[in-house]
């Protein structure tokens, strides 16, 4: 099977390429790169006017399967991924049951394979049941396919547990990923603490709730010499802490989300839960610091924290509604919206090169012999209509917004799984 991505501008910072070049994928791997490659029977993807990049990897998504398939399934979540321009996702372990055993992880990978869309890299739990007390079997999980560990959604409250976990797993290359929110400082907050929460009479969570956990986890990372990744950073202070840790030799990476780059904590005047998310949307000072940190290199990766829920669930009262919303299908448009000055090479680093490096997975380049995972996108404005999402989660604060960039075609393992607005599972794509 051959696929030829033809006529686009190839941006591959690892190979040092930014030029109009065709990419020929043969048997799942990049076979040739060159000017004007003849199709010779290959399936042709028309990339004229587009940027062609090594496959984008969203290193922070919630696929909800097993256990919450009314919100999302592996099939619908990976359909959303390829439609959004992603060839791979790392899925978080807060499923029911949690991804804390090799058997569950193997089953997730089997279902991802059956869906035949994006690659799925499971993130295993740090503690059993994400309960924060007993350690998960890291080596067995890694053998089953886990590429990192996290108790995402919460954080081990007990620093001793987290330190022991990091020590025990320190011989594994898999990073620990921290969702940083102190549960006591956060309390029953539904939004950021600030002038808006006080005016609205809503319980707010201060940036401090994030900062103290970032600081703690960076110190544990240093103590255990463990590779670490801070998920969805939202505050200027957390960014400063990460910079400081790097000066001390801590191997730490971090990500930011599209919603924290775009929105502020001014979206709750109607007391609806559409924008309720953890960590919460912050004020302008923090939002601007996040944007600057993406540009200055502090931030390694852009990740959506795709967290789909049913519309009925999100329509509940603010206190009862679940946190989060889908992000895969607006992501690249939102990043370009927030950071129009971001150069294409840096864009590809943040979405492909660095996520592949942090997770230790193949990809991040389209050099000959690399995986045949290709993201084709273009600067073509479009207006978000959440009803049209492939994800089951039809709720997003981006609904109705016009975004400047969109996915045009997605190639996974040499198969065109998204083109012309349609998702095509690999089996169909081959046939």
């Amino acid at each position: 099977m051959k696929t030829l991505v033809k006529g686009g501008r190839l941006v591959d910072p690892v190979a040092g390429i930014d030029a109009n070049l065709d990419v020929l994928v043969e048997n799942g791997f990049v076979g040739r790169i060159g000017e004007h490659i003849e199709p010779d029977g290959a399936r042709v993807v028309d990339a004229r006017g587009c940027i062609v990049a090594p496959g984008f990897i969203d290193m922070h998504v919630h696929l909800r399967e097993p256990g919450q398939t009314h919100k999302e399934t592996i099939a619908t979540g990976t359909a959303a991924a390829v439609a959004g321009g992603f060839t791979a996702v790392a899925c978080m372990p807060n499923t029911e049951p949690a991804l804390d055993s090799a058997a569950i992880v193997s089953e997730v990978m089997r279902r991802a394979d059956a869906a035949g869309l994006a690659r799925v890299y499971p993130v295993g739990a740090i503690t059993r049941g994400r309960a924060g007390t007993e350690l998960a079997p890291y080596h067995l999980l890694a053998q089953a396919g886990c590429v990192a560990f996290s108790d995402d959604g919460s954080t081990p409250r007990d620093a001793r547990v987290l330190r022991n976990a990091a020590r025990y797993a320190s011989d594994l290359g898999c990073a620990f990923i921290s969702h940083c929110e102190d549960p006591d400082l956060k309390g029953d907050a539904v939004m950021n603490e600030g002038a808006a929460s006080m005016r609205l009479g809503l319980a707010g969570s201060p940036g401090l709730a994030e900062d103290v956990v970032v600081a703690r986890d960076l110190l544990i990372a240093a103590d255990c010499e463990k590779v670490w990744h801070i998920a969805h950073v939202t505050t200027a202070t957390s960014l400063d802490l990460i910079r400081w840790a790097r000066t001390r030799g801590v191997r730490v990476s971090c990500e930011v989300t599209p919603h924290h780059l775009v929105f502020l904590d001014d979206r709750f005047d109607d007391y609806r839960a559409e924008s309720k998310v953890n960590p919460p949307l912050r004020g302008a000072h923090d939002r601007d610091a996040l944007r600057a940190a993406v540009l200055d290199g502090t931030v390694d990766a852009l990740a959506t924290d795709h967290a789909p829920h049913g519309l009925d669930e999100k329509a509940q009262l603010l206190s009862a509604a679940p946190v989060g919303f889908g992000g895969l299908e607006i992501a690249i448009g939102a990043y370009a919206f927030a950071l129009p000055q971001l150069a294409p090479a840096r864009f590809v680093e943040l979405l492909s090169v660095n996520p592949a490096r942090i997770l230790g997975v193949p990809g991040g380049t389209l050099g000959v012999g690399s995986p045949g995972d290709v993201s084709v996108f273009a600067d073509r404005p479009w207006t978000v209509d959440a009803r049209l999402f492939h994800s089951k989660g039809k709720n997003t604060p981006f609904d109705g917004l016009t975004l400047p960039r969109r996915a045009v075609a997605t190639v996974v393992d040499g198969a065109v799984v998204f083109e012309h607005g349609r998702v095509l599972p690999r089996q169909e794509a081959v046939a």
Binding site: G194, A195, M198, R199, L200, G201, L202, D270, Y271, R272, D312, A315, Q316, L317, L318, S319
Partner: protein, 308 residues
Amino acid sequence: MRTVPPRSLLDVDDLRPGELVGVLDRAVAFRDALPARDLLAGIPVLNLFFEASTRTATSFTLAEQRVGADVITFAPGASSLGKGETIADTALTLHGIGVRVIVVRHYESGFARRLADAFEGHVVNAGDGTHAHPTQALLDLMTLRQEFGRFDGLHVAIVGDILHSRVARSNIVGMRALGIEVTLVGPPTLLPPDFGAGELRIERDLDAVLPHVDAVMMLRIQGERIASGLLPALDDYTQRYQLNRSRLRALRDAAVILHPGPYNRGVELTDDVLDDPRSRYVAQVHNGVFVRMAVLDLLVNGAPVVAV
């Protein structure tokens, strides 16, 4: 620009300043002479109180009866309302039954807004969480005007647990709209430094404020603030913020003392305060009925807008 009265009263700023003054004028007229009991004749009004209330529920019920409404009172308790049923379904059901006005109190901030967005009728917010309590603010404003005959240039101190007070929030909104100078007084845990985004005056020293105000509004301090670690032992709070005999001496003779009730004797104030001739607690609750009559009349029937 809106030319008809607001459909619902969720907070004081649903009323333009002219409408606000109009409501107070109407309330005064009702207090001077009760109207015929037909202003809301045949209009079904539902009192929907998810949170216990004595004064506000009684005051609303009497107000509704005095304007001739068909009054339905319902404490949801274990019903499906606000639980499994969505707000939209609840609103649809109540409208289908024939309810045209809902007076609602709920323990969650924003409930009245969510209900009003879904209900094809009038919603009067009788208190939502720590957000707003507009009819309380209106009756406070009515009491102040009764006392001073004006709003502009008045200086009011609001003292205590500002962060958790829907009464304080609604009063701040109303007082600022009418040109009243507001000073907030309380400890940083109950009045964070960034409350009001720098647009409100915040003081920590009650004694420095008392001699300079026309009115002081003492908010209720709930015991759970100590249990949840927001306040130390009560005597540390009372030593700094309690209105008592010695602090009454610092208050001007012409000043008045307001309290939204229910008060905790010995906590935010002492018995001396309630016995003090400057205390207006009884006037406040008395005015409440007429203000609520005027609000119902405005929302359902409209009213002449007084130019400001």
